[in-house]
């Protein structure tokens, strides 16, 4: 008897784009709010951004059920950490935890494309970018999700980081001010919305700095 093949997929791509940019003393994390399946829009107002710790904010696109499960898992682990260490997790620590969590399911992955943004222990902006199985790197800026191929080259053009091989080591974070970075994000999403069918509806921007956390919204094209 021939082995029966599955005719349903445990994965779906619910689309969307995520971007994060690190500055000298701030970090901007942004994502659109459209959730799709196939050629349909499920909802125009779904947040892909999750605050994991005081100075760590994650934006994830991909398969929404896996993203939700991943966010729940990390939030629970962070709560345990707070109980055990009497403090919040630092952003680099959360970055490692996310990587380990993703690799743990190496053979049935979380279909989630993540960018983690926050402030490191010195108060400098940091951005970590991931693939679906936990490979990660600290960078000055990153884009993930359905619009990433449209957004990343433009960010490279505007924010190109110096090579990490240079001596003396140069900062990867952008010299742009917070307002300039937010403006760049808005421009980038407006452009990605034009050409990526899965990106649009509304843009949610979260800004982390020494004063705390700030949220901003911008309308995007709904077609």
């Amino acid at each position: 008897m021939t082995k029966q093949q599955a005719n349903w997929s445990p994965y779906d791509n619910n689309g969307g784009s995520c971007v994060a940019i690190a500055g000298a003393d701030y970090c901007v994390i942004a994502a659109d709010t459209r959730m799709s399946t196939g050629y349909s829009i499920l909802t125009r107002e779904y947040s892909k951004i999750c605050k994991l710790a005081e100075k760590s904010v994650m934006a994830s696109s991909g398969f929404q059920a896996d993203v939700k499960a991943l966010q729940k898992h990390l939030a629970a682990r962070h709560l345990i950490y707070q109980h055990q260490h009497n403090k919040h997790m630092s952003c680099p620590a959360m970055a490692q935890l996310l990587s380990n969590t993703l690799y743990y399911k190496r053979f049935f992955p979380y279909y989630a494309f993540n960018v983690l943004g926050g402030l490191d222990s010195e108060g400098k902006g940091c951005v970590y970018t991931y693939d679906a199985v936990g490979s990660y790197e600290r960078v000055g800026y990153s884009a993930q999700g359905s619009g990433s191929t449209l957004i990343m080259p433009f960010l490279d053009n505007q924010l190109k980081s110096p090579s990490p091989l240079l001596l003396p080591a140069q900062d990867a974070v952008t010299p742009l001010s917070e307002l300039e970075a937010v403006d760049l994000i808005k421009t980038v999403f407006a452009s990605a919305t034009e050409r990526d069918i899965y990106t649009g509806d509304k843009l949610e921007i979260v800004v982390l700095n020494a004063d705390g956390i700030r949220r901003e919204y911008m309308e995007l094209r709904k077609d």
């Binding site: 008897m1 349903w8 445990p10 994965y11 499920l42 107002e45 929404q64 059920a65 939700k68 499960a69």
Partner: protein, 248 residues
Amino acid sequence: MATTMVKENNAGPAQLLGPESASERTLYPYVTGTSVVALKYKDGILMAADMAASYGSTLRYKSVERMKSIGKHSLLGASGEISDFQEILRYLDELILYDNMWDDGNSLGPKEVHSYLTRVMYNRRNKFNPLWNSLVLGGVKNGQKYLGMVSMIGVNFEDNHVATGFGNHLARPILRDEWHENLSFEDGVKLLEKCMRVLLYRDRSAINKLQIAKITEEGVTISQPYALKTFWGFSAFQNPTVGAEGSW
């Protein structure tokens, strides 16, 4: 098929095949319900579903209630495999029972039930044995209206209006155009009926026997089954073979 063994075996027939047993996981749905459509209105949630359950292309059952009240504050509508829907109702029965047994004045609201259903659906998907349903969960608790959806692989969201299956393609656009905050009950019903009429015309697994359910702070009311008025008197339907003699 020759009997190879005489020993008593309480395990299912799949076990008799030897080490390479057939999988007992869900592969396809058999008896299915079609779209469910729901929207938020001034006093709560309105939900509509027809009463058909199809066995492939046969309209096998025509009096299936695909919407049920859950606890005091929620209403669940389901499309997809009906036996899996009945299984979910059994899970929810147990959940509500334990909730009531606490006897502490608290009761699970629609958000909690939606969260529970999401976890159940996602867990079954993780085990590669899904409950083949798209669920719509609506309710009101402490004045807060809630309307959400869960798919068979655990994708979930909440919104002002939701629809499953064909409803996503045919009803959502109508709702996006005509829904607004604080719809009256009459306007809400009219809007739902408009959606259900389009589905009736265009979805082959839909029948003209539907129920509309309403949930408000006061509780759940599910209407008696009724039929929508339809119009088939288009001139193009008269003499359909005019211009193509010999056709039918």
